[in-house]
């Protein structure tokens, strides 16, 4: 993320091309923007929902025709407004921002929880393209909350990617947490790297496992964001700014912020609150 890149990254307004439901609460929104189409897996953009809010969302895919998408779960006012928009509506985008996932190693375990799958989906595509042996674990509360089922099942069939689903209520795939399943997978197979995104406690557990099994580790974190360009200080975790030094952190950097991971964050007012 060079100074030049930031300087020329003013907000653009774009038309929504299409909105595709992933499940009852999650939609994928397609639009065309040149800079977004150059994003690395794990990078995010700030999406302006005019008159409502501006929120960070990961790029979930980029298509050869120059369009990109974000995949958004309805959790509050901004995400509700966004998931209700339709083709032809206008949103603003700035970005892509931050440091994405680094593709490394030959065997990758991808562990995603809920909409944490958004940045991971793009990563999975990139890994498969690069010939990496990929195992994907997607976890959610119940079958209604899983996303990208089609895309992942397709990859499994056509590219031989191992895809495992798990739900807390057992309504689809395995029963239990994504990390429980990950532990089982790790016992049976040697991986070079674990990529993860999702609820921070899940990330924390995955991090502990990575340490235990001596596997390399990269996780995408979330914090409250305003500027996305590293000046407002809203998104800090320890000495790092998630928007600039993350959102993807590697093993070494996570080690430096271990005491906060899954433990503590700052809210909009800058008060420390539990994660």
């Amino acid at each position: 993320m060079s100074g030049w890149h930031i300087k020329n990254n003013v907000m653009r307004t774009v038309e929504i091309l299409d909105v595709k439901p992933e499940n009852p609460h999650v939609k994928t929104i397609f639009f065309r923007d040149e800079m977004c189409a150059s994003a690395e897996p794990g990078q995010f953009i700030m999406v302006w929902i005019p008159g409502v809010d501006e929120i960070p969302l990961s790029i979930s895919s980029i298509y050869p025709d120059g369009s990109s998408s974000v995949t958004v779960a309805e959790v509050g006012e901004a995400t509700r407004a966004l998931t209700r928009m339709r083709a032809g509506d206008i949103i603003g985008v700035r970005g892509p921002f931050g440091l994405g996932f680094k593709v490394s190693g030959e065997r990758a375990l991808v562990v995603g929880g809920g909409t944490g799958m958004a940045p991971l989906m793009m990563l999975i595509n990139r890994l498969v393209e690069g010939g990496v042996d990929v195992t994907v674990i997607e976890g959610a509360e119940n079958s209604n909350k899983l996303i990208f089922l089609d895309r992942l099942n397709n990859l499994s069939e056509s590219m031989g990617v191992e895809v495992l689903f798990t739900t807390e209520d057992g309504s689809y795939g395995f029963r239990g947490l994504a990390t429980d399943l990950a532990e089982r997978v790790l016992c049976n197979k040697r991986f070079d790297v674990i990529y993860t995104c999702g609820p921070e406690r899940m990330i924390r557990k995955a991090y502990e496992m990575a340490k235990a099994y001596s596997v390399d580790f990269q996780a995408s974190l979330e914090r409250y964001m305003r500027c996305a360009i590293g000046i407002c200080g809203s998104c800090t975790i320890g000495k790092y700014r998630v928007c600039r030094d993350g959102p993807v952190f590697d093993m070494e950097r996570i080690g430096e912020i271990e005491e906060y991971l899954g433990v503590l964050k700052y809210n909009e007012s800058g008060e420390r609150i539990p994660v």
Binding site: G233, K239, Y266
Partner: protein, 305 residues
Amino acid sequence: MDYSALKTHLAGLSMPNPTMLASGILGISAGTLRAVAEAGAGAVVTKSVGLKPNAGYPNPTVIQVECGFLNAVGLPNPGIHKFIEEMGELRDLNVPLIVSVFGFSPEEYAEVASLAAEAGASAIELNLSCPHVKGTGIEIGQNPEMVKLTVRAVKDRVDRPVFAKLTPNVARIVDLAEAAYSAGADAITAINTVRAMAIDVETFRPILANRFGGLSGAAIKPIAVRCVYEIYESVDLPIIGCGGIRDWRDAVEFMLAGASAVQIGSAIALEGLSIFKSICDGIISYLRRKGFRSVSEIVGLAHKK
């Protein structure tokens, strides 16, 4: 490199160099304040803190325009009581920790400032200049009489150096500087952002949720240099220059205009935290090339021409 030529003494503070982190930039958490100090800043100023917790405005709060940044963050802060806990982690900071405070009355400023001072602030900077928060901007910072009352109220309660940070959104910034001076301020920080706005032509909407915000970055540098130059001619106080500084040349330009130190804000978005070191390195080479032994020798030099 030998940085001793950069040592700066300002209103009783000793700084290893004249660069400081500007208020509102990263300075809300102990972690980033420490990171900025480690990156080479000569002092750090915290985000402006008030009496009570405040969530600020909804997003968009910070956007980019062609030549700078517009922000209307709305002074989010955890309130001084919680912030004191944050400061507790910074006891061993190796550069001065300056706490920026705001309030909705002179008494409130004084209350927050005295709590910050008790908690170990090296100095207090009074944010008399937020261009977009009702009750503290126009009503206090643009009014010389209120500036005087506020500085005096704070000076009465606090035994640390007090900096008055002024707004350029007035007809004569020197009137504000003189008011601060007469009330006993120890230094002037100039400037805060310039009131401004941006409208999106596709949606017909002001982009910032608050509609109005403050312009910072390269756009305001010539305005800020002018303010520093004017204040230097009008009051006998050290000045901390701020506004659009991006490299050593900009920093030197402010010092020639009369600034004893400089604050860096928006440029961190473009240059990262390494900006403090690169500005210091640039100033050192400049001083050598021009034959100065100390950075203090260049302060105000443009007035002799």
